[in-house]
Amino acid sequence: MTDRPSILVPLRVLEGESVPEGVPDLLANVHVVLLGYHVIPEQTAPGQAQMQFEERATARLDDYEAIFEEAGATVERRLVFTHDGQKTIDRTIHEHDCMAVLVPNATGAVDEVLVAVRGTVGIGRLARVVAGVFGTTDASITLYHVVETEETDEDVETLLDGMVDRLGELGVDESRIETRVERDRGPLDAIADTAEAFDAVVMGETDPSLVTFVFGMPADQVADRFLGPVLVVQREPASDERED
């Protein structure tokens, strides 16, 4: 495929979740993996829900697919009936090799983007998502880092400069990039508070000890308070050699 990053857009398609305003334009430059899913209780066989709802759900997905394609994205789509929405999202991320997941909240025109840079781990993917989504737009990109106690100023500088360089290499105009450093605060609160002044947030999947989560607490909390679109960058998939 092209170097468009794949971004997962999960929608509970039968529960009134639709593509929020502004999101198609936000994702105009990427490969959208559109996941319509429907969570059913255990008493119901997934096939049973499929018999009844497939037509309606497919019609909606057709509309959404058209909206994304009109905005310029390439689209791939899935409709899944499941007892466990989280498992479905995790599996889809894995199977389609998605770089990030969108928490779909509405937005206007995106002029200011907040990019939370946590550490060197996963910074390559973070850069690729930022460059892929915002590289050809005019949005200003603010790299944001909350200093941890054992970090020196030098560490922070190396980290953020490194990120700027990477984005530059990926074709992002460096004059659009700003950096901002915060001290003595919990990263979560800091990000959520700062985000209020921005139109969109890009952040990493948080605690690496939790293997399976997307909307797991931190990103979720930010999204809840921020109310705008959040791109949650996924970790490098663990090597798959044990499976097969």
Binding site: G47, D84, R91
Partner: protein
């Protein structure tokens, strides 16, 4: 993740002009794939599968049958349970092979309708639905006995026997809960099964040590075949209801993750585990009291055994466990019955409306009511042994036919039949499985056999009347 294709194309129409739903394009470890971009997620793992199997089975064999079995067969009831376990295992192996070749919802019904055609499929499918209702009713009556024993324990004297009333109450409550409840019941089921296994292991370990005189008591000596040889087989037929659960794992085969691995493990594993528990339970119970006295205690005999060993706390623990076990068995059976209705209506053997999903709760209310309603009528009869035997009869027909279906499929060897697990000992093992399943029926009470045959005939006539044009058989 190799995709397995399911190359079966059902055709025809039923009386209402409905055609069977189309088959999926393929099956992966994690999903069933339809039309390329529609997927059905698989969400039940090995532990979940085992919990369904064990949870469905253990309610009956341990908490309802020991007294009845001992009064029929004496100490040799142990052997009856072992025979039941052996037959279950002989069927569980072929079922595993079929399930890995066709991991779809509907279990035995699906295998037989695809392997042997719509007529056999209808008899088995409708029989499975009704059989599960008989089984649920049986568990609910058992639950009623345990709840009544709680009243007795509390010294509440009731002027009437509350057994049937309580059974009805729980039956209605379970149906209502299944329709309106959206809690994560599978997680609860896993915990319940865990608690039961731990409680029973502790209790039985004590009992075994006691039986061998470790605690210095002499156990009641009993002659093994105190009632003769024949009752061993009739008792095996009676208690076979304790082994119906493994097929329920196949009913949800469409939702099991990594079906090629987890289906055989869950089915064979649950049969082996419950067989061991059953045999040890009967051994311990008959050693404690001797078959005669045990028989007098009836459905709740295990409570008296526990009281004998551990006093009041033991009795309370087993009472609680008995309530939990019969409740979870009844619940699992009602849910399986609703899955059976879905499988039949998907294939146009029942009206499509029967598997309709409720918009408010997302649950199949028609199918659940179709299971829950008749159950109440059956509970009213209060006939533990009859309910159990009819349930066993209808399941045994299915078990025997599954073995036959396996032989048919292996002989014809159609291209689409590619099980990832193949049983050893073909054709002897499935042959014996079929003979043993049909053979066990002979030892049932005439009334149970008569009811079972009537249900089969009515099922066949229904098929001729309603869905005579529907073909479901795979291309073989």
């Amino acid at each position: 993740m190799a995709e397995q294709s399911v190359d079966v194309e059902p055709a025809g129409q039923n009386l209402a002009g409905e055609a069977p739903a189309s088959e999926p394009e393929g099956v992966t470890d994690e999903t069933t794939v339809h039309d390329d971009d529609v997927e059905l997620e698989r969400t039940i793992g090995l532990v979940g599968g085992l919990a369904i199997g064990i949870g469905t089975m253990i309610g009956a064999g341990i908490f309802v049958f020991p007294g009845l079995a001992a009064s029929n067969a004496g100490l040799a009831a142990t052997l009856s349970f072992a025979i039941g376990g052996l037959i279950a295992l002989l069927v569980a192996l072929p079922t595993s092979e079929l399930a890995t070749a066709m991991p779809r919802s509907g279990g035995g019904y699906y295998f037989i309708s695809r392997g042997m055609g719509t007529a056999y499929g209808s008899i088995v499918g409708l029989g499975l639905w009704l059989g599960l209702m008989f089984a649920s009713a049986f568990y609910l009556v058992g639950l009623g006995h345990y709840a009544s024993a709680v009243f007795a324990e509390l010294g509440v004297g009731l002027p009437f026997s509350p057994v049937i009333g309580i059974g009805l109450l729980f039956g209605a409550a379970l149906t209502a809960l299944s329709i309106a409840g959206t809690e994560n019941t599978a997680a609860i089921q896993n915990v319940v099964v865990g608690i039961l296994l731990v409680t029973l292991t502790g209790f039985l370990s004590y009992g075994v040590l006691d039986a061998f005189g470790v605690f210095g008591r002499s156990s009641v000596p009993g002659q093994f075949f105190s009632r003769g040889y024949f009752p061993v087989l009739t008792t095996a037929a009676l208690v076979f209801t304790s082994y119906l659960g493994f097929a329920q794992v196949a009913t949800v085969a469409g939702e099991i993750k990594q079906p090629g691995r987890n289906l055989p493990l869950a089915m064979v594993g649950s049969v082996l585990i419950v067989t061991v528990f059953y045999v040890v339970t009967i051994f311990v119970a008959t050693s404690a009291f001797g078959a005669d006295r045990l028989g007098q205690f009836g459905e709740t005999a295990m409570v008296e055994v526990a009281r004998d060993f551990l006093g009041l706390p033991g009795a309370v623990a087993i009472l609680g466990a008995g309530l939990l076990a019969t409740f979870s068995s009844a619940n699992a059976s009602i849910l399986s019955a609703s899955r059976a209705v879905y499988a039949l209506s998907r294939d146009a053997l029942l009206p499509r409306r029967a598997s309709e999903v409720n918009l408010r709760y997302g649950t199949p209310h028609v199918a659940l009511l179709a299971a829950g309603g008749p159950i109440l009528a059956l509970v009213v009869t209060g006939q533990v042994e009859l309910l159990a035997e009819v349930a066993s009869f209808l399941h045994l027909i299915m078990y025997g036919l599954m073995c036959v279906a396996l032989i048919v499929l292996r002989r014809r060897d159609p291209e689409w039949y590619e099980p990832s697990y193949r049983i050893p000992g073909y054709p002897v093992l499935p042959g014996i499985g079929a003979l043993a399943s049909f053979g066990l029926i002979v030892f049932m009470q005439p009334a149970s056999i008569a009811i079972g045959i009537v249900i089969m005939v009515v099922s066949y006539l229904w098929y001729r009347y309603y869905a005579g044009d529907v073909t479901l058989k795979g291309d073989i």
